[in-house]
Amino acid sequence: MGRYVIRRLLQMIPVFVGATLLIFLMVNVMGDPIAGLCGERACDPATAARLKAEFGLDQPVWKQYLTYMGNVLTGDFGTAFNGQKVTELMATAFPVTIRLTLVAIVFEIVIGIVLGVVTGMRRGRPVDTGVLVATLVVISVPTFVTGLLLQLLLGVKWGWINPSVSSDATFGELIVPGLVLASVSLAYVTRLTRTSIAENRRSDYVRTAVAKGLPRRRVVSRHLLRNSLIPVVTFIGTDVGALMGGAIVTERIFNIHGVGYQLYQGILRQNTQTVVGFVTVLVLVFLAANLIVDLLYAVLDPRIRYA
């Protein structure tokens, strides 16, 4: 077990370096990092040179990357375009996005799994077909359209919610944005649970459980669910990273000042340190989520042994 974790952590290093380097290169090579620093006007050559020297931008890219990562490892993520420290931006942005992600995950678990179990147990019946079509529709309608429509209906037409989220971004305000963020994954969790339940329902060990004379409720809860939810839990775990990175669209629609908002601002203003800093943290979250899921797998399925 311990050796497995260490091996996995070692495997993550190249992925981490690769992903951050890729983003670093994208931002640096494609854009002009100091273009945003002189306000609306273009910088005059003298200032540009001075700024470049100041930020170490006259160095080769690989050296810049190493310097940057060295700073990151000591906790220095640099400064954003408005002079604020990137770490300060993170301190305000991450709690908001984490709350949003939590709401989304709760939706995935509660609605997705319930719908999946219901349809998996009634495969081929009207309820199954209905939900299946609904999940396809949800998957097909892009998140930003779902978001805009819900905002229009719930926020503008019926006035149930505030169309834009305040800077506090409380859980209550995040319910609808969380649902929007979760929507596609939610549909997927439903389908995954459904397939898994339907497959396991015909399995030999469920037949054994029935032959043992167990009550139906016990067959389902103790034998069927436990096995069927293994892939679902795995998916939801890995989805955490994807949700946090995918919150850009949702945050933009509902005007939520979270990670996506800061990233968007950072990209618009071509602020390397903001973008790379946030992406670095997101990649870390993604990798951690993956590791946890793998370890969780061993807890849920005793057949898995890590060597």
């Binding site: 981490f16 998140t143 359209v145 805009l148 397939t195 949700l243 990233l263 997101l282 898995i304």
Partner: protein
């Protein structure tokens, strides 16, 4: 006593044996960074990697191939027929938009801005006073072009790289696996924002290029998996034992069996690429005017959603139906190719 071949005893066909000890994926990361719909595609592919040979329910008789079987199923599947017809229609109007409209999507009259439906202009006008109907029809061309080109690129690059890695394994396989991990770790919308925010071209090519760049690892992982599965088949082992050359084995024995999951995933992915293009355009980094795109139109209509929702709903509806058509098509093909679910 000879143990007879499996026959039509439903009671004895029920052994849905669970694959034992299906371990976590061999890599630093398991999921995809594409979000749910991409995971959908990936998973549809994974179920297909399992051996699709045992149909069992056929009495002794003429042998049937997986493909002819699937085709027979598909023709009778209303979901497939409807989505295939829809896609045909979309392709038709992408090539000849003038079949449906005589207008010009760039011919706008500010005086008519935001007006609703009126004779000759069933969908009304947008904020610049352009005819929404004409723009919606012309938008299909962009979406289909982006979707088809990106999918072709992704499928080609991904299946070649993944197939070779799966076939030759060893160091190349390990390298490729790590590389796909790197790409999976970057959220796709984020990657799009970063890469495309600095592009000034207003053609569809940067967007397509970006999708190929970030999309290939998904197909490559599927292709690698199905090649590895196919490689373990007895007849492939037999061919190897008989001294078949590597290219011959790959092309003749392995590729035909590994291609089904790639096709399914690519079809579903096509739908998601169309949605991704619209999303990027919505965020302002995808396509740019004067290119006519549903994403751009939705984006430019969103500030006016209170007063003139029609400007948003028509292109959004067209977009949703298009994506739905491709996803349903992929779904139907997957069902047809996966005998286990019959």
């Amino acid at each position: 006593m000879p143990e007879p071949r499996p026959n039509t005893d439903p009671g004895e066909l029920d052994g849905g044996r669970s694959d034992d000890g299906a371990g976590p994926e061999d890599g630093a990361v398991a999921g995809t960074g594409f979000g749910g719909s991409m995971d959908l595609a990936a998973d549809e592919g994974r179920t297909l990697e399992r051996d699709p040979e045992h149909d069992g329910a056929e009495p002794a008789g003429r042998p049937r191939s997986l493909w002819s079987d699937a085709w027979r199923d598909l023709r009778r599947n209303p979901v497939f027929v409807v989505s295939a017809l829809l896609i045909l229609f979309l392709v038709l109007i992408s090539v000849w938009p003038t079949l449906l409209t005589s207008g010009d999507p760039l011919d706008c009259d500010l005086a008519k801005a935001q007006q609703g439906s009126q004779p000759g202009h069933p969908f009304g006008f947008n904020a610049q006073g352009c005819d929404v109907y004409t723009r919606t029809v012309y938008g299909a061309r962009t979406s289909v072009t982006v979707g088809v080109c990106a999918t072709l690129g992704v499928a080609l690059l991904g299946s070649v790289l993944g197939g070779l890695a799966g076939f030759f394994s060893g160091i190349w396989d390990a390298l490729l696996s790590r590389l796909t991990d790197v790409f999976f770790a970057i959220p796709v919308v984020l990657g799009g924002l970063v890469l495309l925010s600095v592009v000034t071209s207003n053609t569809v090519w940067p967007v397509i290029g970006f999708m190929v760049l970030l999309g290939w690892p998904q197909i490559s992982r599927i292709a690698r998996g199905s090649v590895i599965t196919a490689r373990q088949h007895d007849y492939v082992q037999a061919a190897r034992a008989l001294g078949a050359s590597s290219p011959r084995m790959l092309l003749r024995h392995i590729a035909p069996n590994a291609v089904a999951p790639v096709i399914v995933v690519a079809t579903i992915a096509l739908g998601t690429y169309i949605a991704l293009e619209a999303t990027l355009s919505f965020l302002g980094v995808g396509l740019r005017p004067p290119t006519v795109s549903w994403g751009i139109d939705i984006s430019s209509a969103s500030p006016y959603i209170r007063n003139a929702p029609h400007m948003l709903l028509w292109p959004a509806g067209a977009l949703a139906i298009t994506v739905l058509a491709f996803i349903m098509l992929g779904d139907a093909v997957r069902d047809a190719l996966d005998p286990k679910l019959r």
